[in-house]
């Protein structure tokens, strides 16, 4: 990964972190979402990982049997608990996780996302994405604004299969922050260095422009 990509990811992750307020339980997806944890200081924010741990923290001593959903080594904080996958997804579907931060391949203009399959490629993995989308009280998407070949990821209609019919609550890219209200994207914030022009040019989806300034 280039250092520019790297910086973009850290920028997005830091912005997502500032959305979190304790007390809350937060599940972080693979990729940019995983980076969010290091920008969170509030001890009332507890990280949940769907492979069976509430109380994820930085790895101290690597243990091959203590990993997150991306199979990366993690640590357990004081007051953590372990449970089975069935119990873990019971927490997710049952509405006991306050916030899920997820990556996306595409977002449509009603705020629905596609993040698990690409047509023409074998559809062989879905993981916990669909469960998190229906179950988390609030869903924040973190993603680069454009694909590698410069196309907008915020599209009128997703061309990849949807992960859920539920619209997410917020989208954070390196250019902008959108809220989703009544299935409509609202631009609420420009990211550092980004201009409104740039967001308009880079976004295929229709969106309202909130009174941000």
């Amino acid at each position: 990964m280039s250092s520019i990509e790297n910086n973009v990811q850290e920028l997005i992750a830091r912005r997502a972190a500032s959305e979190l307020k304790g007390p809350s339980v937060v599940n972080l997806g693979i990729g940019i979402p995983t980076l969010v944890a290091k920008y969170v200081e509030d001890e009332l924010i507890h990280f949940h990982t769907e492979n069976g741990l509430l109380g994820v923290t930085d790895v101290e001593e690597e243990d091959p049997n203590l990993v997150n959903a991306g199979k990366l080594p993690v640590g357990e904080r004081v007051g953590a608990s372990f449970f089975s996958s069935a119990e873990s997804f019971g927490m997710i579907r049952g509405g006991h996780v306050d916030v899920a931060i997820l990556g996306a391949l595409q977002v449509d203009e009603t705020g629905r996302i596609a993040n698990w399959a690409i047509p023409g490629k074998n559809i062989i993995g879905v993981g916990g994405a669909m469960d998190l989308l229906v179950g988390a009280k609030k869903v924040i998407v973190t993603t680069s604004h454009l694909t590698r070949d410069g196309k907008s990821k915020l599209m009128k209609i997703c061309t990849f299969p949807l992960t859920s019919t539920r619209s997410v609550d917020m989208i954070i890219t390196e250019l902008a922050v959108f809220s989703v209200v009544n299935e409509q994207l609202i631009l609420t914030e420009l990211m550092p260095g980004a201009t409104l022009e740039q967001v308009r040019e880079s976004t295929e989806a229709n969106f309202l422009e909130g009174g941000f300034e």
């Binding site: 990982t49 769907e50 492979n51 069976g52 741990l53 690597e62 243990d63 091959p64 049997n65 203590l66 990993v67 199979k71 357990e76 372990f82 449970f83 089975s84 996958s85 069935a86 873990s88 997804f89 019971g90 997710i92 579907r93 399959a117 490629k121 074998n122 559809i123 062989i124 993995g125 879905v126 993981g127 916990g128 994405a129 669909m130 469960d131 229906v134 179950g135 299969p161 949807l162 992960t163 859920s164 019919t165």
Partner: protein, 241 residues
Amino acid sequence: MAIVYEKVENALSEIKSGMTIMVGGFGLVGAPLTLIEGLSGKDVDGLTIISNNLGEAGEGLGVLLRQRKIRKAIGSYFTSNREVGEAFQRGEIDLQLLPQGTLAEAMRAGGAGIGGFYTKTGVGTELAQGKGIREINGEPYVFEQALKADVAIIRAHKADTLGNLIYYKTARNFNPVMATAADLVIAEVDEIVAAGELSAEEVVTPHLFVDRLIVAKKILTKEGVIHRKQCTRADCEACCQ
């Protein structure tokens, strides 16, 4: 109640071609690596494997895939082993993909005598196609059928001699639920202790679910999968001096 086996091949004696087998683990974490290795040495094929993943390329269940022992796999994230997609492309394997929570819940249902259930997960997506939708309290839910297996091979941390099991950190994952959902349950553990050494409050899998036990010989470490050193009497004596 469980019986302790010394030899992996004896613990696996009931496994036959064409059977449905649940295999614990989230990738290699919490996978019963010794039992999987035992299965790779057995002359069986046409297996249906229910497991979150099919290991990694050439590791864990990935070995059985290469051996063409697997006819069908039911899981949630086969992406972790690129050879699964290739085998699928070549028509060598059938895949049934379920959301991870649905996979876990379907096994829990199977183990708990529930025939099927309604979940919000997947409604309106490709994975719900053909499954049937029911409105409950004004919200759409998709019907999912319970999963059961002939055999489950699982990984736990400690067993007592009755077969009560406890797990270790995130190596717990699918193992406890698989322990409930198969006719024959074989558990591989780090250590077997006397009955009474596990507190009655901390047992995660009560012994009525567990049929056979073996001590793990192949384990996951920071340096990858290794064979545990087999202690000889000489080792022990050297160690105790």
